[in-house]
Amino acid sequence: MTAPTTSGARSTASLRHRLAERGIDASLWLMVPALVFALALFVYPFSYGIGLTFQPGLATQERWGGGVFANYVAFFRDPFVFDSVWITMRLALPAALFNVLASIPVALVLRRKFRGKRFMTSVLVLPITLGTVLTAQGLLIFAGRQGWLNRTLMSIGLIDEPLQLVNNYVGVMFSLIITGFPFAFLLVSSYLSGIDPSLDAAARTLGAGWWQRFRRITLPLLAPGLATTFILTFVLAFSVFPSARLVGDAMGSTRVMSLMAFRAFGEQNDYAMASTIALMMGVVELVVVAIVLAWRSLFYKGSTGGKG
């Protein structure tokens, strides 16, 4: 432990031996393919993209000024682009929040033993296979003006006119919940199965009701897992792209950031601006993730340290 830190004059061990003691030996070659892969396909393109954001096109420079920062000036000044941040947030935050909150009671109920439990779990997980594109196609047919949903609601007399449920905000929200909920449910129930049931049993022996047990035992233990689930579901909902285009209103209420980035990339061939929007997407997402993580550490301390 101490020998390799001393100077070479005193140590009689070979260089190879000293390196091995610090954890550097031939077996590190196993890491090389993965490192080469990460550098070539992730680090290099990503830094290239960051460099690209500081090389604005001539048109952008002329219109927005700001020299090398023209792309960023355009991003913050152009309301057509900048509003997409709020549009994305208005979709992704409620969707992720709903998915996490709704999966807590469902996971709690499905944790108990009953007939058909395996079937219920499989059905709830099924939409993962559908993917956003099929969900979009199904929603367009099922919830469209002539679809079964509107037809049923009209024939039982709840509404007179068909509801507009697709090609707007509601349609994208439906699609986010249908694809995101199974994922949140899977994660929450796996975190739930990691909580030792004997803690709950002990609380029950001491006379705690189910709300007390949930509030004082299950929830604090589950909170870190819930935060992680929220982050992962948010990441999924945040990069919504096909459904925003297919069941949403691509130029209006569901003009999300990924659509704007793709528009700059595929339609305008403005790679610099596309990279800027993509990078800002990452920044916005990181901000939300950081807030959730900070909140998690607060919440977690508060409920175990204070009352324990």
Binding site: L28, G49, P105, R204, P242, F262, F265, E285
Partner: protein, 306 residues
């Protein structure tokens, strides 16, 4: 091992929360089956189910129907949309590309990821935290954020719209995913087994092929199936670099739905979507035979405090 086994074991006895009980009710205990909150949950699940069945049913019915406008069901039934979309979109080629890309990505990401996962699980070396962060970033970032710079690089190297580009782009989230799922799996294999093999004179290569590989098969299988499902379902990254000759099935459906000038007949797309779902469903059924999804993240601690 699983939550249910622990709950049902005699160690926890009658106070087990895992099973409904009518006879021995403890203080503060209510029958959950009768409480309104439970009914609320069941109602929510039923609503979700109705939507799910509606969406699936609508697509399936649409793909078999003809002249479905203002009625509950189509006027006539036909299977011609399937043969129609098969020819119209050259689905033999598209499915060939999809399967080829997915299998290549699985093999490559296992070959690259498993050795790295082994090192991360067993060794400590300088810069290990940095390496960990490096492999975590592609999973945490929105795919578009690294996808657009990556696609720009691909196009500038002249790889745009080629199958190679599609494979490379899909490797970016897959390799970290394999590393992330395999590291805990390798950690739970007893290192004494490897030491014993070393003592008996096995070299690094022999330890890997004779000792580790057989033990790792279940984990590799699970990770491979998940990567396969993810790659077949991956839309954003594939869409950024693929062209007509290298579209996977999802991207082909999307392109058909957004085609300029009103697009293709809706039923053609529905037929294609049904075929896609059947493929995914088959893979998921196979996957669920090997992986218990609710146990992927955390495992019940065996140790008890009491």
């Amino acid at each position: 091992m699983s939550a249910l086994d622990t709950a049902g074991s005699p160690a926890t006895g009658t106070a087990s929360p895992g099973r409904p009980r009518a006879t021995s009710r403890l203080p503060g205990e209510r029958s959950l089956a009768a409480s309104p909150s439970t009914w609320f949950v069941w109602a929510g699940m039923a609503a979700f189910l109705v939507f799910l069945l509606g969406i699936l049913g609508a697509v399936v019915v649409d793909s078999f129907g003809r002249q479905w406008f203002n009625t509950w069901l189509p006027a006539e039934w036909t299977a011609q949309w399937y043969s129609g979309s098969w020819e119209r979109f050259d689905l033999a080629h598209v499915i060939g590309v999809t399967v080829g890309v997915a299998l290549t990505v699985v093999v490559l990401s296992v070959l690259i990821g498993v050795p790295a996962a082994y090192l991360l699980a067993r060794r400590s070396f300088p810069g290990k935290r940095l390496v960990n962060v490096l492999f975590l970033l592609p999973i945490l970032m929105p795919p578009i954020t690294f996808g657009i710079p990556l696609a720009t690089v691909m196009y500038s190297f002249g790889l745009g719209r080629s199958v190679i580009a599609v494979v490379l782009v899909n490797l970016v989230p897959s390799v970290p995913f394999v590393i992330l799922t395999m590291t805990p799996f390798i950690e739970q294999i007893n290192p004494a087994i490897e030491s014993a093999a070393r003592m008996c004179g096995a070299g690094m290569r022999q330890v890997f092929t004779r000792v580790l590989a057989p033990l790792l098969v279940p984990g590799i299988l699970a990770a491979s199936i998940l990567v396969l499902v993810r790659t077949v379902g991956m839309f954003e990254l594939t869409f950024l670099v693929s062209g007509p000759q290298s579209d996977t099935l999802v991207v082909a459906i999307y392109r058909a739905m957004t085609a300029a000038g009103g697009g293709e007949a809706r039923q053609l797309i529905s037929a294609m979507a049904v075929m896609y779902t059947l493929t995914m469903l088959a893979m998921l059924v196979v996957a669920l035979r090997f992986v218990n999804p609710t146990q992927l993240v955390a495992q019940v601690k065996d140790a008890r405090d009491d």
